[in-house]
């Protein structure tokens, strides 16, 4: 990485920057989204854009892709002013963004997705054969191994991303913005994405890479720009910026990232959760024990069965065979309400899909699991609701206008805290956290994980299911899932290489 950065720097580069934003400001009502922001992307240098939620990254991306114009300031491509605001084709020839949310239309074929609204043909009549041929050519040019004739819904997340990148390149753009491209990928897929990015860089494509995972920035980028509170903070070669300094730039304060996974004494308390021979299509013959106050982690690739096991424990799924007991009582499978009554709280896999009702208030979302405890006969008294909500907002330091604000007005990190509040409201004996910090900024991440240390003191057991190593650091031990089975166990004090190796199924 350092080598390629040095090589890029050594090249004589009189060429103007590929993309440049100068003095860009943008306000939405009373909210300043960007203030005097700047960004300079040099051809051939993968550029990372990092910042906490609300730092102004998305606004900058929208300005760079022409979705809306800045209030002041200027965007330039190759030294020339950006196309006029309405000139979509002009913009598309300069820049493209692959968003976290796919813009592929699932019911259309890959070929049609590539040529949507510009299908080749004569006098407006679409030449399907020609379209498929041209699509195949386009895909092979960029080495994307996907059949153009299949419906896009049959592609996995990664192939959809590749198709989107190929589509962007076919418009002539050589500057591609990747907005959290790794969020939905497993380890192997992320590696494939990075390999592809490096190959495309060799062919003259430059990436602006947005990610919450700082490790990835170090792996794949040469330069990094940091935003904070709607402002540009720093632009540095990645090699010159140690991890702690990068986090400091993002948060504005020194961060405690050096927290080591030191050796812990084995928890000797009584057994809280005992799982025996649990099987489902996704996992096979799982047996494990969790003690009172113990924190265990479940790691594994996206199809390893770890999430399915967690969803079984919390009552979202029913296993085919096997049993589980919580404090000696059998766990009610397939019934979330009973599971909660038995003492299980959980943060579901995806806060948008399962965690929040966007139109409802912060208070109501945070107390949704305990709506039967907020008044007599199921009546919810506003006073009780407000006090329960205020407690959650205070306890988790949720940044909100108040309990009545609709939850969709909060930033990602604060939304996730509301989901956490909802899980904690039931005062669980077992807390199951599935991807608890997905799409959350560094500071919120720390706050969310700090809760784990806090509640274990009270004897609550915690199971953390995550793809991120940082999430697993508070664990006493980490169980690794591979193809539906537990294949390894790492006690606290594990190092990243060992754990990753067993997640990938590579014996070390």
């Amino acid at each position: 990485m350092i080598g390629s950065a040095a090589a890029a720097a050594a090249e004589p580069a009189p060429a103007p920057p590929l993309a440049e934003a100068v003095g860009v400001s943008k306000r939405f009502g009373s909210t300043v989204a960007l203030a005097d922001a700047r960004l300079t992307v040099v051809p051939g240098e993968s550029h990372a854009l990092v910042g906490r939620n609300g730092a102004g990254k998305s606004t900058l991306v929208n300005i760079l892709t022409g979705i809306f114009p800045p209030d002041s300031g200027e965007v330039r491509f190759d030294g020339e002013p950006a196309p006029a605001p309405g000139d979509r084709d002009g913009w598309r020839a300069k820049v493209a963004c692959v968003y976290q949310k796919s813009t592929i239309i699932p019911e259309l074929t890959v070929a049609e997705n590539l040529f949507i609204n510009r299908q080749p043909g004569t006098r407006g009549v679409i030449g399907w054969k020609r379209m498929r041929r041209e699509a195949a050519e386009l895909l092979s040019t960029w080495d994307v191994q996907v059949d153009p004739a299949v419906p896009a819904r049959e592609l996995n997340v990664q192939d959809r991303q590749f198709v989107e990148i190929a589509r962007a390149l076919s418009f002539g753009a050589r500057f591609i913005i990747l907005d959290e491209p790794t969020a939905q990928l497993d380890k192997a897929e992320i590696e494939r994405l990075f390999t592809r990015m490096r190959a495309l860089e060799e062919s003259g494509v430059t990436f602006l890479f947005i990610s919450h995972h700082l490790q990835e920035v170090y792996e794949v980028c040469q330069t990094v720009t940091v935003f904070r509170d709607a402002r540009w903070i720093a632009t540095e070669p990645v090699a010159d910026l140690p991890r702690a300094a990068l986090v400091e730039a993002m948060t504005g304060e020194a961060a405690d990232l050096g927290r080591s996974t030191g050796h812990r004494e084995p928890v000797a308390a009584g057994v809280r959760l005992a799982v025996d021979g649990l099987s489902d299509g996704a996992f096979e013959d799982i047996s494990l024990e969790v003690r009172r106050g113990e924190v265990i982690g479940l790691a594994g690739s996206s199809a390893s069965g770890k999430i399915e096991l967690a969803e079984t424990l919390v009552g979202l799924r029913k296993p085919h065979t096997g049993t589980a007991t919580l404090d000696g009582r059998p766990l009610p499978f397939g019934d979330v309400r009973k599971a909660m009554a038995a003492g299980i709280g959980f943060v579901p896999r995806d806060r948008h899909a399962q965690g929040l009702v966007p139109e409802l208030s912060v208070g109501e979302n945070a107390t949704m699991t305990i709506s039967d405890r907020l008044g007599p006969l199921g009546v919810i008294t506003p006073r009780r609701l407000r006090s329960a909500a205020a407690e959650a907002i205070g306890g988790l330091d949720i940044k909100t206008q108040g309990p009545d604000q609709p939850v969709n007005g909060l930033s990602g990190g604060n939304q996730q805290k509301v989901v956490m509040a909802r899980a904690l409201a039931v005062e669980p004996n077992l807390l199951v956290l599935i991807n608890p910090t997905a799409g959350v900024d560094v500071k919120s991440k720390e706050a969310l994980l700090a809760i784990v240390d806090e509640i274990r003191e009270r004897g609550t057991s915690v199971i953390i299911i995550s793809d991120e190593l940082d999430d697993l650091r508070p664990c006493d031990r980490v169980l690794v899932f591979l193809h539906g089975r537990i294949t390894a166990e790492h006690a606290a004090g594990w190092n990243d290489h060992e754990l990753v190796a067993s997640i990938e199924g590579v014996s070390s």
Partner: protein, 344 residues
């Protein structure tokens, strides 16, 4: 951090914006419930100006009496819409529930089944039929996971056909007095049907705002997966809503029977369009999870006043429908503009 150039100002825009908008945001949300009130007042003023008899006690009672059945069906539909479903067949329930009740009671000579049940059993049957139809609709859409729109459209046709078949297209009017008394008996000058609708709206409004069952409807309509993960029994609650809606539609049918004084095989036909219009004008979202009873009732009253004004203005009956439709269209546009939100 030597490369830190820009200093953040006062914790960033996010926090600042939050402080100022806190009170205003909540107030604005509460205001939205009443967006139709100005329009309603304007209409009432207009009515008073153009027609002397509009603001008379008699006319107001007549508006309320005529709106009671519509109000109950709008209430039923609103509950279903908030839960994120739709039920078009409610308009057929309005016909078939009292129809079957009547057929069980009236003698065979008057086209009845010949069972000649006592009146109170017949009236009980009306509600049971409504509940059963709701349960069946719930079964189709919740258990079999059929598309609620199309399946309730099919049910609309089936139920209408059943009523036409059972009555052989005839109008039933030989029912005993209790079948009409809900509209003919008055309490404090208002017909019982108006009181029934008012009580139903009051209870529904309270439950939707202050009871966990009511709040569960919003959660389910807003995000069923999140509701399920929060321990709400999504299927069961949705099913209950269907049954309640069926019973309310049956009650509306009884009110309409009393108001008209007979049961036509067409009773309730085409009513669903007005129902949907009143609900959407009143701010109930077609996508679920949004809407209040205050909004729904203002929607009903708005359409009731319009209908009354058209009658008072002696608009030729051939043209009444077109004008009524145009006013609904206009009201939808107005409510879109005043609420500032897309109607989904």
């Amino acid at each position: 951090m030597t490369q830190t150039v820009a200093e953040p100002r006062g914790g960033g825009g996010e926090a600042k914006a939050a402080g100022g908008a806190a009170g205003a945001g909540a107030a604005l949300r509460r205001m939205r419930e009443f967006t139709l009130v100005p329009a309603l007042i304007a209409l009432v003023v207009l009515g008073a100006v153009v027609n002397d008899s509009f603001l008379t006690e008699r006319n107001i009672i007549s508006i309320l009496g005529a709106s009671a059945a519509l109000a109950l069906v709008v209430l039923a539909e609103s509950l279903i819409l908030i839960t994120g479903k739709i039920d078009l067949s409610l308009e057929s329930t309005v016909g078939i529930a009292p129809g079957l009740g009547a057929l069980l009671v009236i003698p065979a000579a008057s086209a009845g089944f010949g069972t000649e049940w006592p009146a109170f059993l017949g009236i009980l049957a009306i509600f049971v039929v409504g509940g059963l139809i709701g349960a069946f609709n719930g079964f189709l859409s919740v258990k079999l996971r059929l598309n609620a729109f199309i399946v309730s459209l099919a049910m609309l046709i089936v139920l209408r056909g059943l009523l036409t078949g059972a009555t052989e297209g005839k109008t039933l009017f030989d029912m005993p007095e209790p079948f009409f008394s809900i509209a003919t008996t008055t309490f404090l000058k208002l017909p019982l049907s108006v009181w029934l609708a008012a009580v139903c709206f009051g209870v529904a409004g309270f439950v939707l705002r202050y009871h966990r069952l009511g709040r569960a409807l919003y959660a389910i309509g807003g995000n069923p997966e999140a509701a399920r993960a929060a321990g709400i029994r999504v299927e069961r609650v949705t099913w209950v809503v269907y049954v309640v809606a069926g019973v309310l539609a049956a009650a509306a049918g009884l009110c309409l029977t009393g108001y008209v004084g007979a049961i036509n095989a067409n009773q309730g036909q085409n009513m669903i369009f007005t129902v949907m219009a009143a609900a959407v004008i009143g701010g109930i979202s077609m996508n679920g999870g949004k809407g209040t009873m205050t909004g729904a009732i203002t929607g009903v009253l708005l359409l009731g006043v319009v209908d009354n004004l058209l009658t008072l203005a002696q608009v030729a009956s051939f043209w009444k429908q077109a004008i009524y439709g145009a006013i609904i269209l206009f009201a939808l546009v107005i409510s879109r503009v005043t609420s500032g939100q897309a109607q989904e």
